[in-house]
């Protein structure tokens, strides 16, 4: 193992939080770390210095206007090769999970996705990754010389360690012709925060009784600037959109605080939220399985508890 390449992503102004997390994780292995980011301006990248990144390559492809999994994967693999990087780290988000397998195939590398732990032991990386929807975890290693990993967002902590960062901007010859699939439009969920990006997620289950009552959940989420989630039962009933479903056949989230209201706690749901840092459950059934996995539980009627809880939290947050 010689050198680590971390694939970074920007939002409009700086970098995505997941990028700071993988830079911070990469620093802990005692290997040189190079960042790579595609089609951004230098000012966006500078902040990575705060997280200990010392070297970063900006690859600009003048003919490539939008994200393209095929072209981006080519740029990443080429950069890894030309810089002698044999370990490539991605954030396990939408882009990372699409790019990492392509890059692994280009580099004849083994790839372990969605790692929640990564450490070096006896000269090799040992990864832990949730399987069976989080009901179990495997401990695995990669046998090939080149190795690719993606790290689950919100699990690795972004830690600051100011460094001096040298940025090299290169023009990539990979462009439009390599973009056999490309993004032609981007639709942001207007004013709505995604469960994958939120620090606080408030979800409801069948106990909410109907879509008209979701206002309670929205109000509580709003106090935190958080996102609204839903159990599978609620989505299957057509009360909430698929994009909000948390669980094994929905999204896997690890927010700082997860509030489950009127959710009994089927194994499929718990698989999607069990890595949350703090879990608060509200349910009128004291025997609901959710109370076995939560940090705090309120046994009561959510229609009475949630409005009071919302007011009290609002008072603290001022």
């Amino acid at each position: 193992m010689n050198k680590i390449l971390v694939y970074l992503e920007g939002n409009k102004v700086e970098l995505k939080r997941a990028s700071y997390e993988i830079v911070s994780a990469a620093r802990t292995f005692g290997l040189p770390v190079i960042g790579l980011i595609i089609n951004v301006v230098e000012s966006q990248v500078q902040i990575a210095a705060e997280y200990g990144l010392k070297e970063c390559i900006i690859a600009n492809s003048p003919t490539l206007n939008n994200y393209s999994s095929t072209a981006y994967a080519s740029i990443i693999a080429e950069t890894a090769k030309s810089n002698g990087c044999d370990v490539i780290l991605f954030a396990g988000n939408a882009a990372g999970l699409e790019l990492a397998p392509r890059v692994s195939a280009k580099l004849d590398a083994g790839y372990i996705s969605d790692c929640v732990k990564l450490e070096v032991a006896n000269g090799n990386f040992i990864a832990k990754k949730p399987v069976y929807g989080g009901k179990a975890q495997i401990i695995a290693k990669i046998n090939t010389e080149n190795k690719v990993f993606s790290l689950r967002p919100n699990v690795f902590t972004a830690t600051t360690e100011p460094a001096s960062l040298s940025i090299t901007t290169v023009t990539s010859s990979i462009g439009e012709a390599d973009a056999t699939s490309k993004v032609i439009n981007l639709a942001k969920n207007e004013g709505k925060l995604d469960v994958l990006e939120a620090d606080v997620v408030v979800s409801a289950g069948r106990g909410i009784k109907g879509p008209e009552n979701y206002i309670l959940i929205e109000n509580l989420a709003e106090v935190f600037g958080g996102a609204v989630g839903a159990s599978r039962a609620v989505v299957d009933a057509g009360w909430r959109p698929h994009g909000e479903q948390v669980g094994q056949t929905g999204k896997t989230v690890s927010p700082t605080l997860y509030i489950a209201a009127g959710i009994s706690g089927a194994v499929q749901h718990m698989a999607g939220m069990s890595t949350s840092k703090v879990i608060l459950a509200i349910n009128k059934d004291k025997d609901a399985p959710i109370f076995k996995v939560c940090d705090y539980g309120l046994v009561g009627d959510l229609f009475e508890v949630i409005p009071k809880l919302t007011e009290k939290i609002k008072a603290i947050k001022g």
Partner: protein, 248 residues
């Protein structure tokens, strides 16, 4: 339209998982196996494409003899033919993608549909690796698909929104919930599927790229302070969130 749909056999999502005696796999005792739920969505999309454009749908699985059960489900749903690439050993994502690639080369499909992930190892690797091996574009985690001539427009979920991706046939699409609601096979079709032929191929071996060293059930290390629903209980929870776990 020549449509290939790849499916896998996975434990029912309601299954409880127990570590097996080898410490590396789960104990199969008492587990009910199903078609991977995302692959069912891929199957449904394949059938709808055939209904609209004509052509054939082939269902493919890489796995052991028991995976034929899932191919029978695909046949009952309405696919034209079923193929099993047989292996008895354990395998990684590259092995699966490589074997799908080998088979795909023999039939040159216009489109390959797969679930976005299989709910056993949750690796989300096969569609994109397959794209590289076949030199084809792919779009992952697709919730909406439109095909006009050779032009493919797919919507895919990203954090906080959607990307609309344009590509062209032949291509690979990985299906996410929301793309469609899979049909339930009808009883007469389930009966008929039992006697339909399943083509068998031997798997091509590849060096193991990823080795599973062990499997464990994560410890539940939650404090679990359970209170009532009175005002004083809500006050206490707010205090705990504020002072103990410091999330407010």
């Amino acid at each position: 339209m020549n449509i290939l749909v790849c499916i896998s056999r996975v434990p029912d999502t309601a299954s409880r998982v127990i570590v097996g005696s080898d410490g590396k796999t789960i104990d199969p005792q008492g587990i009910k196996y199903i078609v991977n739920p995302y692959d069912e969505i891929a199957l449904e999309e394949g059938l709808r494409l055939r209904e609209k454009n004509g052509g054939t749908v082939t269902a493919l699985t890489v796995g052991g003899e028991s995976s034929k059960e899932q191919l029978r489900t695909a046949l009952a749903m309405g696919v034209d033919s079923a193929v099993i690439v047989k292996t008895d050993s354990s395998f990684d994502s590259f092995f699966v993608a490589n074997n799908i690639s080998e088979y795909a080369k023999s039939i040159n499909p216009d489109i390959i549909l797969l679930g976005k992930q299989s709910v056993d190892f949750d690796s989300l690797q096969v569609p994109s690796i397959l794209g590289e091996l076949l030199g084809l574009p792919s779009v992952s985690v697709v919730t909406k698909l439109a095909i006009e001539g050779n032009t493919v427009t797919a919507e895919r979920e990203i954090e906080g929104g959607k990307e609309v991706v344009e590509t062209s046939l032949p291509c690979i699409i990985s299906a996410q919930k929301g793309l469609n609601d899979p049909r339930y096979p009808k009883l007469p079709d389930i009966m008929k599927a039992k006697s339909k032929p399943i083509e068998e191929k031997d798997a091509v071996n590849s060096d193991e790229r990823v080795t599973v060293m062990g499997i464990e059930i994560p410890l539940k290390k939650r404090a679990g302070i359970i209170l009532g629903g009175e005002d004083k209980d809500i006050d206490e929870v707010v205090r705990l969130l504020h002072e103990e776990s410091k999330v407010i």
